[in-house]
Chain length 498, copies 2
């Protein structure tokens, strides 16, 4: 085969991967939105066949030969093709590095674990989940060796979610945050609490839907390319850079819940919609890492969405949507309410300030689980101890404790830290943005175009064209947790008169 | 390969076909329900690749060898495997006759045509759709040659939708109907008209939705396996016999519109849900032909749903849903209103009596398009002429004329006649059913179980296990359009005092 022919084969391969991805995405979207209740079985058959076909395609001798040959002469390729080949080479190696029987046994285990976890959570019965958690840990420790035998197991796992990040960096990162945040949160706990009771009046769903539409408009999300749906757990799903879906969940008694879900998922959506056209239908499209993706969602949710400037800009309209509930509430009161700090038990419901401490608890525990210095059986006690130490709260039960997240039951160890990293990346991006233009000046007029323009230029457009660390360097400079800590300290000290 | 091994390979092949089918169905369902407006392009890429993969699978040498070998010794196989092999053999032969690139280009064309048609209809701009219509016609004429070069092109296309039916039979069929119906409709036009104004009061969508749920319950549709969605054009989509979706459209000023859409699509759904479990994930599942499918939907829509017995049974409940609108309307008035005969422009809104004439217009036109005796450009004029001749109505514009249906934009030529055949099959099934039990006696008590049981036994269960003509024979005996004509004549002569 001539080089040109090989590159055409490369394009075809990637379009197929795209098509399989679209198919599974579509079936998944259907499953969590409109599919009738008792239809999982037939969909499962289809999904597992499609997954098998994808796996077969990626491990086919022709595919491996093509990728290996192009990889060997990657230096002769243009940037795009070189990066495509590097990514595919990595994916192929990832797929073949776990022995097939182990992979199948593990798939079966995570399937089962998901059900067991669900039931254990419902029934607050950690004991029933404990053995399977230990099994999952052991599989992951073993797989870490397959991923990268030269790294410590947890580092190898971290690398799967946020390439280039290791325990050493994360220890420093979390240490910095802990030292700054724990005393700050304690000090806030001694100050008079903010009243947010008006956020919990009855907010009719129809008005919340109109509000969500408005927020998407403010964010500049083109509804011709970005859908808004409704699911129990909000998420973002991308088909390509012209077709992204976000979902939200309307809580009748919490207007902030859907509002910040829309801003959060909208941030993810802007990332996907901002990726360059020439990366479409290749393996270089899509956000580059969990951490960078989260930096974008949290940027719109918190750095913008929970800012005084943004609230000030949208508040007249917010009052129009909810005159009965917010007619007598000022923009400043609303701003304070959505920034109320309250150490709590549930990560996904936690405020901007305490959020990272929730993540830190999980980081400490999974690090030790994978290292083998903590067993599954010891998790509840460790969890309670760390929540007490970091957040000052007592954990009354495992349902609201170590059983709250689905991640471990799905076999994800090393995923959690990316949530915290994303927040910190965002804060540092904000700092850099402010050196270039008056960020909140524009936001105060409801104009996010400069912000989105900056992020599109520094982050969104690249997709996987750059490594995660390069994107971070591009937008943040040398990563330093102090920007995030400074942002939080300044904001919350002012809010609570410290 | 041993025979057993071959049969396992056969099973795997069919499961893959099922998975590809699920994938395309899901992407299609998404496209017409929640997908943002400007996302067709990326979906088109995915769909055409999936179609290409399916095509490749069906035309792969291993597939062909497997199917050919099993086909050669089909007499040694059990009934199920034999029918599977026969169906696959037919499909493979059909597919291998279309060159892969043409097939993919055509998939992309129909995807694009759908958007163009949509816009053209919205803007009443036939000119913008005309060239693509001509392209679709030419593809279909060409494909007809691939399907069966020995048949006239339109006969080959007809055969795709209703195996065994040809122009000669249809000419006789439509001739019978035209000769009986045109004078009947003219006579009705001279009688005092039925008042149906109360059907067009304001019927709030929320109450219509509750009514739709009720109708599905009356039909015995299990909501755990049958979803109800909302689309501009109602349809039924099946993933498997445990997962079927129907859609409806709520017209604020026409309570009968969604009511009869639900009964119609519900009839399709009962067929799919009634197919035997042992045919699942094989090529024998799914309704056997368009005509037989339509016989089931029209059975519930008209033969049941527009019967005096059915209206009598559900009417107290109907009044509960719409007390303000129907409180003073009797069941008999409602029965007469939903059976009002009025020659009109829109097929999908036409009454039971004039419906087949709408189909006949399309039949005459597409027959000529495919024959090449009519060009796309001439369609609007031909349309107007035939509507005047058969129905006595003037066509004021193309939106309400030849742009009204999606079929041609989806590449379906030869599909329309099956609508008329279905009606006729259904009437003959009803006749046979009445020989066995008191059909309307049960219906008058709101009990459709005997009807559904009969149809399940004679029609639904078989899927593709029997040929369309065998199913028709099974349920109808020797097909004869006079049963349908007699049913219509009797019903409408009584209604209009003729």
């Amino acid at each position: 085969m001539e080089q040109n022919e090989k590159l055409r084969a490369l394009e075809t391969l990637q379009k197929k991967l795209y098509a399989y991805n679209c198919a599974s995405n579509s079936l998944y979207l259907d499953a969590v939105t409109v599919a009738p209740k008792n239809t999982a079985e037939g969909r499962g058959v289809a999904l597992s066949i499609l997954a098998g076909e994808l796996q077969k395609l990626m491990t086919a001798p022709e595919t491996l030969a093509l990728v290996e040959e192009l990889y060997a002469r990657r230096e002769t390729l243009d940037t795009l093709h070189r990066r495509e080949v590097e990514e595919l080479h990595r994916s192929c190696r990832q797929l073949t590095r776990i022995p097939a029987e182990e992979y199948m046994a593990y798939s079966e285990l995570t399937n089962r674990a998901s059900d067991v976890w669900h039931k254990a959570k419902e029934e607050n019965d950690f004991a029933s989940f404990c053995p399977i958690l230990q099994e999952l840990v052991e599989y992951n420790r073993k797989f870490a060796g397959y991923y990268d035998a030269e790294k410590a197991p947890y580092d190898a796992l971290l690398n799967e979610y946020e390439r280039g990040v290791d325990t050493q960096q994360l220890d420093v990162f979390f240490d910095t945050l802990r030292k700054g945040l724990v005393p700050l949160i304690r000090a806030i706990g001694e100050k008079p609490q903010i009243d947010d009771s008006f956020l919990h009046l009855e907010y009719p769903v129809e008005q919340q839907k109109a509000f969500a539409d408005y927020l998407m408009e403010v964010m500049g999300l083109d509804r011709g390319h970005c859908g808004l749906g409704e699911t129990e757990h909000p998420f973002t799903l991308e088909f390509n850079n012209k077709d992204v879906r976000i979902t939200t969940n309307y809580d009748l008694h919490n207007v902030a819940s859907s509002m910040y879900s829309v801003l959060h998922e909208g941030g993810h959506a802007l990332y996907e919609l901002g990726i360059r056209d020439d990366l479409q239908y290749t393996c270089l499209t899509g956000g580059v890492s969990m951490g960078v993706h989260e930096s974008q969602s949290r940027f719109y949710e918190n750095l913008i969405g929970r800012s005084r400037a943004f609230i000030g800009a949208i508040y007249p309209k917010v009052q129009e949507f909810f005159p009965a509930q917010l007619g007598n509430v000022t923009a400043e009161q609303f701003y304070r309410a959505v920034n109320k700090v309250e150490p709590s038990l549930i990560r996904t419901e936690s405020d901007e300030l305490t959020y990272c401490l929730h993540v830190m608890v999980r980081y400490e525990i999974e690090k030790q689980l994978i290292a083998g210095t903590l067993t599954a059986k010891e998790v509840p006690a460790a969890w309670a101890e760390l929540y007490k130490e970091y957040l000052g709260v007592e954990v009354p039960n495992d349902r609201e404790g170590c059983l709250q997240d689905r991640h471990w039951s799905g076999g994800s160890f090393g995923y959690f830290p990316s949530y915290a990293l994303g927040n910190a990346y965002g804060a540092q991006m904000l700092h850099n943005m402010e050196q270039e233009f008056d960020v909140y000046g524009g936001v105060a007029h409801g104009d996010l175009s400069a912000v989105t323009g900056w992020l599109r230029e520094k982050v969104h457009q690249y997709g996987h064209l750059l490594e995660p660390a390069e994107v971070v360097r591009n937008a943040c400079g040398t990563f330093d947790a102090h920007y995030y800590l400074d942002y939080l300290t300044k904001k919350y000290a002012e809010l609570y008169n410290l």
